[in-house]
Assembly symmetry: C2
């Protein structure tokens, strides 16, 4: 398998965690999101992924895009260790936490959105940081109020082993720290993410441990 990835991309980070948890070897193909106006927008890369986004996972027969779809695919093909619980309502819980990150926080704070704000609305660096912080506060605030009273939480979002939810949560916490966003109001979110970051698979997948890390 070949993974097109950028070390700092949260979506790439998610897939790297899933691959590491499943202990699946892969070739790392770096796609630099900033160099030359963004290598993800080059015609060579768009031939692989017309969306011009990372990650893309290529196996012998398929080209797969969108991190959550890739993780579900890996989980269906390589069921051990499971990244989703067995019960449908528990699966919905885990997926909904993953989607709270993937649909409510990450998209509004990703690189191309921040670039648009700067180029088209001439927002200052301070306004950009406020924007970033606002969506972290709203998103992690909602997650915190939900997780703190959740009976199914354990060391991880669901019980004692990491799932798709932790796979989404960890890169978002990593990113928030990179932007120096205070996380004191979200102790449950941080506790769970920190537990996951202690695991070898999550460490392997960390941005600073990638071949293209700067």
């Amino acid at each position: 398998m070949k993974l097109y990835s950028y070390f700092r991309s949260s979506a790439s980070y998610r897939v790297r965690i899933a691959l590491a948890l499943k202990e699946l070897p892969y070739e790392y193909a770096a796609v630099h999101l900033l160099k030359g106006g963004g290598q993800q927008l080059s015609s060579a890369y768009r031939f692989v992924n017309p969306e011009g986004l990372v990650p893309t996972l290529q196996d012998d027969t398929h080209v797969l895009t969108q991190s959550l779809a890739i993780v579900e695919y890996l989980n269906e093909l390589y069921p051990e260790p499971p990244l989703l619980p067995a019960d449908p309502a528990d699966r919905a819980y885990v997926r909904s936490v993953a989607l709270q990150v993937a649909c409510e926080i990450h998209p509004v704070n990703n690189l191309r959105v921040l670039q648009y704000l700067k180029q088209n609305f001439a927002v200052s660096e301070e306004q950009k940081t406020q924007w970033y912080r606002h969506w972290i506060d709203v998103g992690f605030g909602a997650l915190e109020s939900r997780l703190k009273d959740e009976a199914r939480i354990g060391a991880f979002v669901f019980g004692a082993t990491p799932t798709l939810a932790d796979i989404c949560l960890v890169p978002q916490v990593w990113n928030a720290r990179r932007f120096k966003i205070p996380l004191d109001d979200f102790p449950t979110v941080v506790r769970v993410a920190d537990n996951a970051m202690e695991l070898e698979a999550f460490k392997q997948a960390e941005p600073s441990n990638q071949p293209d890390a700067e």
Copy 2:
């Protein structure tokens, strides 16, 4: 089952389509996203869904949030008609198209983001429309280049019956039309969405057919 919904919410619309395709009866609980500063932010509603977002689906024992997690749940509990193909790679394809809408287009154009732009960056109505159109152009552009050459496409995103992908695509096309965004550059996207809109279940789920339609 009880569905907390707002007639114009794309995420609610997705779940309404899934419920209609599965022919599942439900009670409709309207949550007005604009009245009184947004009923979704009231403490009464946040008791049901701490995220303060619609939709929420309540059945006898569970409270479910995040539209895609709800649709997957319904599909696991009520397998007929299937909203995902049987083959893992095909499932990944369908899920990735759904996520291209749910993660790349919808979040940046939803109500609370547009409100933030207006309140904090003082963007004009024209700039707001440009922003909206930009993310439709980028998102539908990526989808169009992908779908036009896709062997698995038929009357719908995957073959001859609607899936999770069409469930996400239709509300986004409906919304783009509401904002009067030209869609001429996305003939495949529009063709597929229009085919789906012809189906009775998609009609039932349409915003103008909801009890809280204005």
